[in-house]
Symmetry: C2
Amino acid sequence: MTSYDKENIFAQILAGKIPSVKIFENDVCLAIMDAFPQSKGHGLIIPKAPSCDLLDANPSDLSGVITHVQTLAIATKKAMNADGIRIAQFNGEEAGQTVFHLHFHVIPAYKGVKMGAHSEGMADINELNQQADLIRTQL
Amino acid sequence: MTSYDKENIFAQILAGKIPSVKIFENDVCLAIMDAFPQSKGHGLIIPKAPSCDLLDANPSDLSGVITHVQTLAIATKKAMNADGIRIAQFNGEEAGQTVFHLHFHVIPAYKGVKMGAHSEGMADINELNQQADLIRTQL
């Protein structure tokens, strides 16, 4: 088990030290656009409670955050006219985790569009802001 | 939104009409081995509450089930000596969903072993039973 690094990028985003494209924020979590999206509208739910991953999270924190994953999934599907939504959550580098602060990926799927396993590059910030605006209208 | 089909395969497994390799069961969910695993030890958490997917689930049911996803993830990582765990949850055919009853995939990742996007075939039932036994020892 990796020990929690208080200076990980999501901790810094939560603390406002690093900018992000916010969708919504509440006491439990921050929802932002993924800067390296696997598809248009790819968002992240980042719980405010610190844990490396799902395995070392406080169960009551998990119970609290999963409903916000649902909220983002519903709003994203509507806003992006997506055909489906993938929820992905990685624990450990070998599983694809790159930031060691628990987070849930909310990834729209579109008919006829192949979803990459990894991002093909950093997204345009204006596009991300437009997507966040669209998603917020559906909250 | 697809309407919930009471005769879907997971509903039939929950009702005991179709056999499965059980890991554990409680009031909230059933944990079974995936018959078409993406890696050794691939399990599923199937909530007992009926919903097509995460988007149409009752939020309080989601809060209840996610802690069991965590329980299975922790036990699976230990039992299988996995290097990581992927949680995947698909909503809609375009996102990869094949059974329209909410379920969470708990997929071990192993260093140097490429994880397939899809199963390469049905697993050997004896192997699944052995894996379920191993995982149960870590609960």
